[in-house]
């Protein structure tokens, strides 16, 4: 017989866990006591929100399930934003929370909160464990649910008397079977044949690839298919990295801040092949005007996504990798789309993304400089806002899982802790957090974590002393009335130094490359405070409610 806490801590490595991010408190003391002698690595964060984001960053960079741990009540509630962030982007994490003893459940006991109730709509599933004997089974199921099908967060709530209660080790099944959970991986043959048929007969096909391609580890299959038949590819914010940025068929991101040529291509295509993408409103703009001439094929593992926002001609429920492999076997080399590709090439030439070169410090230049220095061999995490969009537009990503950002929830404060997590997944490459001065201050306390654990995250703050993205909307749509979006100057170098981290301030374009190089040469964490043009905007941009080819800040239509 052993205590539930020991069963828990022993069951995590069995599921492949090597590291957990957490913060202790009363009811998790028994679990922390077991961690004291365990070989599991534990990183003490400075706020539980950061634990959830770090687990998420680890998960997205590695493709494995990330784990975080918090105490009951305030600790568990602090995880909520992180869990919701993971849920919206389908990131696999297991969140473990302590709970008051079972005999006090529902009594408003000290530090009690109904975290399974609170997280019901933001988890794929959750558990309130009632007996130590259930722990190993629940942990096995939780990892299985989090890491299969459409991935997502699972929460396990463990009352204190369950972690101190004694139970025997129970033998676990080789494979988890749950009657109510059977994701479909293989696509329906007839549907796949129909899709192949449409491709063969299309004149202006376009692939619209999303986060599902990355989740499915299907980048190679995607690139093979696109190249074999010669179909251009546009990606969502979450799909960035599934095809190399400099691949001739890559049109970059589509949607609100997508490239003009990607959005033009959507509007003119006669066959849109959506692969692991969910027709988000940031992508489609005014939905009835999206891809008006196209037949639509939609490949998605989640049947609830198919037809949710847009009518689909050929739905294919299945895992991207499996479906693309089947499609590939039905397709042959093809040069049928030459006129279409020529048209796209013309758009690409005449409507490129722009960087001003006027001697001032523009954020796009900083992103491009970093991109040229690391040549795709880095993990780039972002915060939320303009910093995120400039990075998505101007950084050249070569590999999947090297771009990590909060897309669905758009959580400011995500980037820095997610970058910490990403480092443990990819210690072999530098990890950058591209930040805004607003976002970085939402989890700035983690400077203490990176300093204490020598986590070599490089933070590049694109400091405009504004909540820039909101200011941009106020400038464009609210008559420049900058209501509560200006931030006072903050000396981030001093803050970094106070935490024991190196800091650099950069005011001119000439100092950008030397600063970035210095950060790469440094073994530890670094904070770079780039004082950018304050009222720089993200362009092009689709205004809310417009069709996606009605962009502002683009080139005149040629």
């Amino acid at each position: 017989m052993k205590p539930g806490a020991k069963i828990l801590v022993e069951s995590l490595p069995r599921e492949g866990t090597e590291i957990i991010f957490g913060y202790p408190g009363g009811v998790v003391l028994p679990i922390y006591d077991e961690l004291y002698d365990s070989s599991l690595r534990h990183i003490l964060v400075r706020h539980e929100q950061a634990a959830a984001h770090a687990a998420d960053g680890y998960a997205r960079a590695s493709g494995r399930v990330g784990v975080c741990l918090a105490t009951s009540g305030p600790g568990a509630c602090n995880l909520v934003t992180g869990i919701a962030t993971a849920y919206m982007d389908s990131a696999p994490i297991v969140a473990i929370t302590g709970q008051v003893p079972t005999n006090l459940l529902g009594n408003d006991a000290f530090q009690e909160s109904d975290i399974t109730g609170i997280t019901m709509p933001i988890t794929k599933h959750n558990y309130l464990v009632k007996s130590a004997a259930d722990i190993s089974r629940v942990v096995q199921e939780a990892f299985y649910i989090a890491g299969t099908g459409r991935k997502g967060p699972v929460l396990i709530d463990i009352p204190k008397d369950v972690s101190t209660g004694l139970a025997e080790d129970t033998p676990l099944p080789e494979k988890v079977t749950l009657r109510g959970y059977n994701p479909t991986y293989k696509g329906h043959k007839r549907q796949i044949d129909k899709a192949v048929e449409l491709i063969v007969h299309a004149e202006r096909p376009l692939i619209y690839a999303g986060g599902g391609v990355i989740a499915s580890n299907a980048s190679a299959e995607l690139v093979s298919l696109a190249t074999l038949v010669g179909i251009p590819v546009t990606t969502t914010l979450m799909g960035i990295g599934c095809i190399p940025c400099d691949h001739p068929l890559n049109l970059g991101m589509l949607g609100m801040h997508g490239t003009e040529y990607a959005n033009f291509a959507v509007m003119e295509s006669d066959l849109l092949i959506a692969i692991g993408a969910r027709f988000d409103d940031r992508v489609t703009g005014k939905i009835d005007t999206f891809a008006p001439h196209a037949k639509i094929v939609h490949i998605d593992i989640d049947p609830a996504e198919i037809g949710k926002n847009k009518r689909i001609d050929v739905p294919i429920v299945g895992d991207v990798k499996a479906v693309l492999q089947d499609m590939l076997s039905g397709l042959k080399k093809n040069n049928a789309y030459e006129p279409w590709l020529k048209k796209i090439k013309h758009w690409k030439q005449h409507h490129p993304l722009r960087v001003k070169d006027d001697g001032r410090l523009h954020p796009q230049y900083i992103v491009r400089a970093l991109s040229e220095l690391v040549k795709g061999e880095a993990v780039i995490v972002s915060e939320v806002g303009q910093n995120q969009m400039w990075t998505a537009q101007h950084f050249c990503f070569h590999h999947p899982r090297t771009w990590i950002t909060s897309g669905g929830l758009g959580t400011m404060g995500y980037g820095f802790p997610a970058a910490m997590g990403a480092h443990f997944a990819r210690p072999d490459v530098p990890v950058f957090d591209i930040a805004g001065d607003g976002s970085i201050q939402m989890n700035i306390q983690e400077m203490s974590t990176v300093a204490a654990n020598k986590i070599p995250v490089k933070v590049a703050i694109l400091n405009n002393m504004y909540l820039g993205m909101v200011r941009q909307w106020q400038e464009l749509f609210f008559d420049r009335r900058y209501s509560f979006t200006e931030l006072p100057p903050v000396d981030f170098v001093k803050i970094a130094n106070a935490y024991g981290i190196d800091g650099m301030r950069v005011d001119s374009p000439d100092d950008v490359v030397p600063a970035l190089k210095a950060s790469l040469d440094c073994n530890g964490p670094v904070v770079m405070d780039f004082r950018i043009e304050r009222e720089e905007n993200v362009f092009p941009m689709v205004p809310a409610g417009a069709a996606i080819n009605e962009m502002i800040g683009g080139h005149p239509r040629s």
């Binding site: 109730g117 019901m120 709509p121 794929k124 109510g180 949710k308």
Partner: protein
């Protein structure tokens, strides 16, 4: 917008009802009627839910219901020939004398049972579809309905067909 009767087979576990109803409330659906009980499968329950909504929205909730780990099957009975029933218990003022006799007469026409007789009231038990119970209630109003309790609607497909599984 039309009523849909959904039949949901679930694992009988704590929290499952909140999970199911939460998917409706977050979309602003009002649940018109809800009934939960054990069923032919050991360890499982069947939930019957009546909601009013446009077909596409109801279909979206159904696909979301499928995704819940504790949900085994979801089907929309409204698409098929079915039997639907509700049960109501109605406590009516019934002073001994004429009104009591009339109430007993109405009860027998509706094939309602008298399950309790008090000095000033009687309790009727009636089973049927929504319209029948509505009609009975309306008739009894004139005597003074002191309390009325209705179960949610339950439904089953006609013939040898059983609720189609789609999971």
């Amino acid at each position: 917008m039309k009523p849909h009767t959904l039949s949901v087979l679930v694992e009988n576990r704590p929290g499952v009802l909140s999970r199911v109803t939460g998917l409706f409330s977050r979309r602003g659906f009002n649940i018109e009627s809800l009934a939960v009980g054990t069923c032919e499968e050991p360890g499982m329950s069947r939930i019957t839910i009546v909601v009013i909504g446009d077909d596409a929205k109801v279909e979206q909730v159904m696909t979301q219901l499928h995704k819940l780990i504790d949900v085994i099957k979801v089907s929309d009975l409204s698409e098929n020939e079915r039997v639907e029933r509700e049960l109501a218990l109605i406590k009516v003022n019934a002073e001994p004398g004429t009104s009591r006799a009339e109430i007993l007469q109405i009860a027998s026409i509706f094939r309602a049972l008298i399950v309790d007789v008090g000095s000033k009231s009687v309790i009727l038990e009636v089973t049927g579809d929504t319209e029948k119970i509505d009609a009975l209630e309306k008739l009894l109003r004139q005597y003074g309905v002191k309390e009325l309790v209705r179960t949610g609607k339950i439904g089953i497909l006609r013939g040898s067909k059983s609720v189609p599984g789609s999971k």
